[in-house]
Amino acid sequence: MSTGAGAAPTPPQWGLWSQQALAVLRIELRKVFWGKRSFALYLLCLGPLLLLAGRAFVLWRGWVREDPAAAAVFYANIYQSFVLRFVLFFGCAWIFTNLFRGEILDRTLHFYFLSPIRREVLVVAKFCSGLIAAVTFFGATTAATLVLLYAPYGASTAVERVLGGSGIGTSVAYLGVTALGCLGYGAVFLATGLLVRNPMIPAVAILGWESINFLLPPLLKKLSVIYYLVSLCPIPISQGPIALMADPTPAWISVPGLLALTLGVLLVARWRIRDAEISYGTD
């Protein structure tokens, strides 16, 4: 019988870790895309699509006229106030808090904890699965809404506005902001799911904080995810007459800032998960 390696540190085993992470990814992605709970996510993504489809129908019937330049401003408003602040926020809250908290409620986390996988690898794999799912859901929603935005103007205009000339830059910017939003909110909600027994309470608090961001002084604005995301949006929108204005943060600060936030949260999650216990039963 071979002996255990005792407490001696083991050298990095990148091959094994990536294989294990891929196995976790497969399990998690199956849950997110095919699980019954994900119905709410599909509904959430349907919201902006229905809104843009309704607008397209109205324009197509000729009941209202709007030129493509105005459409871009309309979309900027919809994207920042509805897609980012509602759909992406609640979608990420749903996906990322459920990564661990959902498993605790389902009493299934012990299957991972009883596998010979480093807890850090588990955290990273679960976070990546959440990120892939969120980017797929909300990236697809963003792309589809952009197509629906310009669809009423005909195929050639739609292609030009979404994929051609300066249009491609705008589309990529929106998709990039969506991906960064998934990263930023994903990190925040992964942490709340791990640190707080009832993640609804911090989720509501974060929603409140993000919602009043436009009223906050410049220094406090920077302690939110939405501030950096809005700064990166290709078309700025009015924050309203009572908003306190702050210079948008340049991309070279916003993007690394959100990445640093994610890294920081993953480090906290690593510390939290190493000592995590499972005790959802009694003797």
Partner: protein, 316 residues
């Protein structure tokens, strides 16, 4: 205590849930073979199992399984399989997918994972139900798929929390046979059960827990003999029990002797079993009493449990 690379070592282990005691000052070494944890609800059986699998961290003390600290899951769970009492599974997975997916998380290659999955399903007799969703399984099938998950990676140490729960008598005997087979292969098997007569059938050793403390441990016989306040009961089946009774009553270590209902045996309560057996040999030689059998009547888990814990325990 030195690290036993073949055993499960608890070194002065305590676990508190806030102010509530889980287990306290546990000093225990569990060798290979089948060891049963016995105790009433809340006695600390599941806590002890969760501690040795790293699902819980001790508040005080140290635990090593085959020399591996329990806070190193990446090392520990190659060697340990745990069938928990939690009757819950990841959603929307078939029995096969469940085993296969988690073997992949273990780091097994696809072909290896497939082979191990089928082997585990065969061992618990679930191959026919492999492609059915676990949600559609009966209680007994869910119990068996959990057992399959615990043994699928062929661990050296197998920890089973109430593995016989929900199984019909036929499957129960199959599972007991499987446990014996696994123990015969040299594995450690630690199990908890309320079904004391089945614990008796399978166990090499028992650990008796009460209110978070280990009150006794060892082979059933050795534990029984340590309980000096309760005389040992020996049933002697013979042709002349009344003659035997009259001869043994002269001895100070014999507390009570009772002729059994069919008048073909004598139930003796003695404070010294070894002296009684010597005496019995002498009487048989001197008087020509024909003895059919001599057997301890309360050297079982049920009796030991009752003497130490003071209740009947679950005997379902």
């Amino acid at each position: 205590m030195s690290d036993d690379l073949n055993g499960i070592d608890f070194e002065n282990v305590s676990k508190f849930y806030g102010d509530v005691l889980g287990v306290n000052r546990v000093e225990l070494t569990i060798p290979p073979g089948i060891t049963s944890l016995v105790g009433p609800n809340g006695s600390g059986k599941t806590t002890l199992m969760n501690l040795m699998t790293g699902l819980l961290r001790p508040t005080r003390g140290r635990i090593r399984v085959l020399g591996i600290p329990t806070d190193r899951p990446e090392l520990l769970h190659h060697r340990v399989g745990y069938c928990t009492a939690y009757d819950s599974f990841p959603r929307a997975l078939t029995g096969y997918q469940f085993l296969y997916s988690y073997l992949r998380v273990h780091g097994r290659a696809a072909a290896d994972a497939r082979a191990l999955t089928w082997r585990a399903l065969e061992r618990v007799n679930l191959t026919d139900a492999a492609e059915r969703h676990i949600g559609a399984y009966s209680k007994g099938m869910r119990q068996r798929i959990k057992l399959a998950q615990a043994i699928a990676h062929e661990p050296t140490v197998l920890i089973l929390d109430e593995p016989l729960n929900g199984l019909d008598p036929m499957v129960r005997s199959e599972v007991i046979a499987l446990l014996r087979e696994l123990a015969h292969e040299g594995r450690h098997i630690v199990l908890s059960s309320h079904i004391l007569h089945e614990v008796d059938l399978v166990s090499d050793r028992v650990v008796i827990l009460s209110q978070g403390y280990v009150v006794a441990e060892g082979s059933i016989q050795s534990v029984r003999r340590e309980i000096v306040e309760h005389p040992i009961q020996v049933l002697v089946r013979c042709d002349r029990p009344s003659l035997l009774a009259s001869r043994i009553f002269e001895q100070d270590h014999v507390v009570e002797a009772k002729i059994v209902e069919d008048r073909r045996g004598l139930l003796v309560h003695t404070r010294d079993a070894d002296r009684f057996y010597l005496l019995l040999n002498r009487i048989v030689v001197d008087s020509g009493i024909r003895v059919e059998s001599v057997a301890p009547a309360d050297e079982d888990v049920q009796a030991v449990y009752q003497y130490l814990v003071g209740s009947e325990g679950g005997t379902a």
